[in-house]
Amino acid sequence: MHATPFNSQRRLPAELRPPLGGLDPLLLVAALGLVACSLVAIGTATLDDIEGDPYHYLIRQAIYGVIGIALMLGIARFDYSRLRELKIGVYATMIGSIVLVYAFATATRGSKRWLELPFFRFQPSELGKLLLVIALAAFIVDRWRKLGEVDTTSRVVLLALAPAMLVVAQPDLGTGLVYLVITGALLFVAGTKWTHFAALGGIAAAAVAVVLVGAPAVGVEVLKPYQTARLTAFVSSTDNPQDEGYQLNQSVTAIGSGEKLGRGLRGATQTRLDFLPEHHTDFVFAVVGEEFGFVGAAIVLSLFALLIWRALRILTTAKNLFGALVAGGIAAMLMFQVLVNIGMTIGIMPITGIPLPLMSYGGSSVIVTFLALGLLQSIHAQALATAAAKRRELAA
């Protein structure tokens, strides 16, 4: 990338420069708070997981956090608007990296999602979420004047469907859904007609019907059996340890047994004795619920609420449509992931393997989320700078 960084602060006199270099302090607090909660939850939950290395996951998650924060602060200093020029490269990178997975990925539990890098396992589909937001936002801005046309809407949807299908086929149904949600959110914020949404909704419903009911009936397996099982497990949970419903039961039990103040590190038997599966990744919220009870869960929820509120707020103040769309896409992505992940741990959503942003263990997810937050901070900083410039023009 050789685009000249657009650094607005340099052109402003000191008294007009926004504090914190234009960063949104509340967004920052929310992000740092969530990382802190994540470290506590993962640190306590994984003490016994690797013999002789009680801090294995804690140390790694902390490193991912530090890297993520550094990247966020770095990105915040650049003008995100530059990314519009790079939309083709962004889109190509996204598709290319996901395709790379098919060529080189190592399979974990039957699914190929990760590229083995020397220092960590990189999950292109995670980065792809953000790249999709940028590329689609740029595309929509380009076709801003033809937004009411069916043509525009269908092109956007097709642009999104390509990576989404690739991800679903890895198979990673959850992340694929995130791609679709992002697309919907971008169209929604951009102002696509309600009739288009109604049509898209109809097509989606038909597609779901075909995949879940129609295709199996004629013998075509679109979803792997385990995916169907996971999707339907929350409707019928059982006690069978090898059943999908078992995970849900254990997660709900863990959270419920936390009661008001939690069972503490020692008393959290669901986590410590491994009844709670994936307690540092997908079910990390259940760890919080068990160890710190309603109070702990409420704190984490509040931090997420703060995060999403700031994201929506930044959406309204963005200096241009591209910024507004990017902020809207990121806000929708965060909302969807929070809802689906926490919803899963408390038994009101199916198991989809979507990580909880900033909380779940995993370098790709943490770093990509911070990249997204960096973009939000950039949008915020640019808005402040533009507003300040406007005030100066008016004053002059």
Binding site: S81, W144, P241, T269, F275, N320, L321, G347
Partner: protein
């Protein structure tokens, strides 16, 4: 280069965009609201329920089997003990779920356990779990130590397989007394609902027959439990609490092992049975059936082939306890009852003389003495001593026409023939005293070829025909005549003790009923029996020649018709004239009572009275019997 297009500038917050952002915000609000309410419901409203569920997850109660109490004889010699063994069990919810993995596991187990195949293990596990769902299934009860160690060292290869220390019954004396003890078996679902099994949990082994059944309440201990914490894989992570098991109570029997063994030896494996009992209090000193079996094979699950062998007719059905389940005509031993009935019914007095001309003709049928003997004129005492059939035929004939015609039947039943004795063993046979009412009912239903005739009563008077009784019933009847009319309840159990032999509860039984027996009549009968074992011409005089204890006894030879060897009987009361014990012996194919049953009774009596070195002196008795 910079963008300076319209889209580059901040778009005004159009009402449309404001609405859509509001929708997004509203969605977020709803989402957080739903999550918050759900958390409130889970953590605040139903938290305690989930705490219980979480504890239920991690806490396992492991049952620690309590050893059963030992069973000892009257001198404290152990008849039924315990030994520890290792059992391999399967906990179904920890088995691998996939069928192939389960099959592999069963294959590995089958390789390890000799004599068990994969399919056998699977059927076994399946059947046990069908009988008692949610419990564990025993694959093999008594596993050798090297196998146990292998399983323990390779637990990861055997998911769901556990090794448990169990107590198995041991029977140091093998086949001697085998019929008394009975067997243990896992409690059944139906039994769990019964009152007598209160406190028993699924999977426990309880007495299913014999003494083990009758005194199960005392013999079974209280299982202990170990509360342990396990993780999701079922691996033990620590013990939380432990309750020690309490061994069951010791049961002391009235059985004298020496007598029991003497009886077993006297029968020598031939089909038969013996009983030795205290005539005053009903304590059973010996009770046995032959052929016998080694109860140790029942300590663990019995093989079908063994069971078949033990129940086959060709092998003499070793499992059946002939002393209480045998149903035989008693032959002349029944004359005691006929005598008591005739005396008390006023048909004769002890001095009444009847003539025995060798046979009696009734309705065209000739009833003869055995061996074509004739004894001339004789009264009751002599009739008992020489066992004159014709004397008793006449009593049977008279009884048939006196009163309701059931004088003998009434007295037989009063004295305990044809009804359960109430001994503390399950599955006692009732027997049968044939009566006009009984046969006429059968005839009406066309189950027999003819109605009751006086000949039936004549046969009954000497214990032939349709009569069905067992040695224990005869012992009770003889005891009642000897002890002055108390029909006692035989019992094996003497008392319940702690493991050091201190008494906790005496197991006394009262007499079931009293029958009025004139002392003079009793004396006459006993004198007749005494003569039979001591006077010249007595049926068993030869057998008891030289025996230091004075005996009163009666031989019996029951014809079982059509080419089948006669049932041989002997019932003895000793010491005469104030008897303390009754001994009853029977052989299914023994011929004359004096030839087989009486010598066997002598051996038992020798053990009972501690007569040393008597075994060799027993000689063959005279061939004149009945």
């Amino acid at each position: 280069m910079m963008y300076r297009e319209t889209t580059e500038r901040r778009p005004p917050l159009t009402p449309q965009l404001a609405l859509r952002i509001a929708v997004l915000g509203g969605l977020a609000l709803v989402m957080f609201g739903v999550i918050f309410l759900r958390l409130w419901y889970l953590q605040i409203l139903s938290g305690d329920q989930f705490v219980a569920e979480a504890n239920n997850n991690r806490i396992r109660e492991i049952k620690i089997q309590a050893p059963r109490g030992e069973i000892v004889d009257r001198d404290g010699r152990v008849l039924v003990g315990n030994r520890t063994a290792f059992a391999i069990r399967i906990t179904p919810d920890q088995l691998p779920l996939r069928q192939e993995q389960k099959t592999e596991l069963y294959d590995r187990l089958a390789d390890l356990l000799p004599g068990l195949g994969r399919t056998e293990i699977r059927t076994e596990v399946r059947e046990q779990l069908r009988a008692l769902p949610f419990s564990t299934a025993t694959v093999k009860q008594d596993v050798k130590l090297p196998i146990v160690q292998y399983v323990l060292e390779h637990q990861d290869e055997f998911p769901g397989v556990t090794v448990e220390r169990v107590f198995l019954r041991s029977y140091p004396h093998k086949s001697v007394g085998a019929h008394l003890f009975g067997t243990l078996g896992e409690v059944t679902e139906d039994q769990l609902e019964e009152d007598r099994y209160r406190g028993v949990t699924p999977g426990d082994r309880v007495g299913q027959s014999g003494i083990e059944y009758s005194y199960d309440r005392f013999l079974r201990g209280k299982n202990g439990a170990s509360r342990v914490q396990v993780d999701a894989l079922g691996t033990l992570t620590g013990q939380l609490a432990r309750r020690e098991p309490v061994q069951g109570r010791q049961l002391r029997l009235g059985v004298d092992f020496d007598v029991e063994r003497a009886g077993a030896k006297a029968l020598g494996g031939r089909n038969g049975a013996y009983v030795a009992m205290d005539i005053k209090n009903g304590e059973v000193l010996a009770l046995g059936s032959s052929p016998s079996f080694d109860p140790n094979i029942f300590a663990k699950a019995i093989k079908p082939s063994d069971f078949k062998r033990l129940t086959s007719k060709a092998n003499g059905e070793p499992l059946s306890n002939r002393a209480i389940q045998g149903l035989y005509p008693t032959g002349s031993t029944f004359k005691l009852i006929t005598a008591a009935a005739a005396l008390e019914g006023g048909l004769i007095t002890p001095g009444t003389v009847l003539f025995d001309g060798g046979s009696l003709q009734v309705g065209g049928v000739t009833f003869k003495n055995a061996g074509d003997a004739s004894y001339g004129a004789l009264a009751l005492r002599r009739a008992l001593t020489v066992s004159s059939d014709v004397f008793f035929y006449q009593l049977g004939l008279r009884a048939n026409s006196a009163g309701d015609g059931e004088l003998i039947q009434t007295w037989a039943r009063r004295l305990g023939i044809g009804r359960p004795t109430g001994i503390d063993l399950p599955a006692e046979a009732e027997g049968l005293v044939p009566s006009p009412e009984w046969r006429n009912r059968l005839f009406k239903k066309k189950l027999t070829d003819r109605p009751w005739t006086p000949g039936d009563n004549i046969n009954l008077s000497v214990g032939q025909g349709d009569l069905q009784a067992n040695p224990l019933q005869l012992a009770v009847a003889y005891a009642a005549v000897a002890n002055g009319g108390r029909v006692i309840t035989p019992h094996l159990g003497l008392r319940i003790e702690d493991s050091d032999g201190r008494a906790i509860q005496e197991l006394e039984t009262s007499a079931r009923r009293r029958v009025g027996l004139d002392a003079e009549y009793r004396r006459a009968i006993l004198e007749g029996l005494r003569g039979a074992a001591s006077a010249p011409g007595g049926t068993s005089t030869d057998v008891f020649k030289g025996f230091p204890i004075p005996i009163a006894g009666k031989t019996g030879t029951a014809e079982k018709g059509a080419g089948r060897a006669d049932q041989s009987w002997y019932v003895a009361l000793a010491p005469y004239p104030n008897p303390r014990y009754v001994v009853a012996v029977t052989f299914e194919q023994g011929g004359f009572g004096a030839e087989t049953a009486a010598p066997a009774a002598r051996r038992i009596l020798a053990a009972l009275f501690d007569v040393r070195g008597d075994g060799k002196k027993t000689r063959k008795g005279s061939s004149r019997t009945n």
